[in-house]
């Protein structure tokens, strides 16, 4: 099974929240969707799951358009981040009722799993959504996502407001479910460092555009931080793809992305270090501010 979008656009007036994106999501992978605030992550996820209509372009599951397609939608679950605003009136819904509606709508819903997770998280099911803390709302979205058993499951900021133990618990649950079923998960998050090891592929958005989709390990293998004396560093990285150069006095540090076959020689005057996914992300998406 394959979820695909071609030339996808979502425009609000002159602002292109999603700007001509082509993307293919394959079955059986954990994808991370990262981007700065306003990069278009939630909009992209909404478009992929037909929760928002696209301005242009199409989303298809195995070649069949997803929009208004019951069969296709039955394979998708986008468990949105719950921002209970008073005007939607959803805050009056009890956790129990919210989960019941989810159980009605998701065709492969696993009620036993939902109950188990409610107990694991010690979620007060009789409370209204508006009485829950941010972390508890995240737990509700996590439960819906996991228990939906949808082949393509999307989670928007699932760990927002969770403490570090609960975040670890979430990633363990995710891996367990993934190992057991081979479902595809797409997870957007700002806490990149913690998610990096769990992801197989990373999708980076910048200003509504798709900056890259890469295998995380390949990306980490190709990225190097090269630092030292300015001239030496410049000489060492000549001809390479350089990002995010920072200078201080006579020293300089740059992030390079190596293509297959390329290498940076470490020498007396040049230090070459590996980078974390978060640092690579900052190097790729933080540079426009430095101009």
């Amino acid at each position: 099974m394959k979820l695909q979008c071609t030339d996808l656009v979502k425009a609000y007036g002159t602002l292109h929240a999603v700007d001509h994106i082509d993307l293919t999501l394959e079955q059986g992978k954990i994808y991370g969707l990262i981007g700065r605030n306003g990069a278009g992550k939630t909009t992209l996820l909404s478009l992929l799951t037909a929760q928002n209509p696209a301005t242009a372009g199409e989303v298809s599951l195995d070649g069949e358009p997803v929009w208004e397609n019951r069969e296709a939608l039955a394979h998708l679950c986008f468990s949105r981040e719950l921002n209970i605003s008073p005007e939607t009136g959803l805050g009056n819904l009890k956790v129990k009722e919210y989960l019941r509606i989810a159980s009605i709508y998701y065709p492969h819903w696993d009620d036993a799993m939902a109950k188990e997770l409610v107990e694991l998280f010690r979620l007060p099911v009789k409370k209204k959504l508006q009485k829950l803390s941010k972390g508890m709302l995240s737990m509700v979205t996590i439960i819906v996502a996991l228990a939906s058993k949808a082949d393509f499951t999307f989670l928007d900021e699932p760990v927002a407001g969770l403490d570090v133990v609960a975040r670890d618990q979430f990633y363990k649950l995710l891996l367990e479910e993934y190992s057991a079923t081979g479902r595809t998960f797409v997870i957007s998050t700002h806490i990149i460092e913690e998610a990096a090891d769990v992801l197989e592929e990373v999708i980076i958005l910048r200003d509504g555009k798709l900056l890259m989709t890469e295998n995380v390990q390949d990306l980490l293998d190709s990225a190097r931080y090269v630092s030292g004396k300015t001239e030496e560093v410049d000489a060492a990285v000549r001809g390479l793809e350089v990002h995010h150069a920072e200078s201080m006095g006579r020293s300089k540090g740059v992030t390079v992305l190596l293509k297959p076959g390329q290498a940076v020689e470490e020498s007396r005057d040049v230090t070459v270090q590996p980078l974390s996914l978060q640092k690579i992300f900052v190097a790729l998406c933080g540079e426009e501010e430095r101009a």
Binding site: R70, L73, E87, L90, I101
Partner: protein, 219 residues
Amino acid sequence: MRGRNLRFWRRYALELLGIGLGAAFFCLVVSAMGAKPEALPGVLMCTPYYLSMGCAFGLILCCFSIHISYLPLILAMGSTRREAFWGFLLCRLAVVAAAAVVSLLVWLLLPGDVARDGLTLLPLLALLMLLSSHLGSLMGLLYQKWKGLGICILAVLCGAAGAGASVTVMTSSRGTALLSQWMGPLGTWIAVGTVLWLLLGAADLLLTRNTLRRREVKL
């Protein structure tokens, strides 16, 4: 309209009917408290009026909030827009039909002057409920576009419905005197009601369908 969609809207229709029945029961209790024991059958015969008022009231409120909270929620959970549209429509029709059938049964089981008048008035009551559902739905649509205006009109409508309900409660025990004034031009009322229903209904369904198509989910 299969499976899951039906299950959701059936539940919602039952909840809505529950509101109508609850309101009817409340009105019954209120009017029974002031009545003498021998007048109780008369009070009981008015149940359909209370039920219709209760359902009309419930329909205004629920059709409003369906637009605000439930439609985005079920779209977020994978309902198609078409399913949501038809589910919403059938849910309302089912509530009106159920209320009308209950009224019919009550008046058939408790024959008398009130029942005779009631049976004649039944189409008008059904029209009233249908109109309420469209009004509530239109308010919901308005609210999405202009928050304040929608709320104002909703408040006015609910006030009117409440006033209507209390007038019904107060006058119904006086029997058919008031109703007979309505009976004369009944045909005209029904005609006016039908025209209104067609107009509002068409506007509501058209707008609901078009908004649903473009609706963006926010929770």
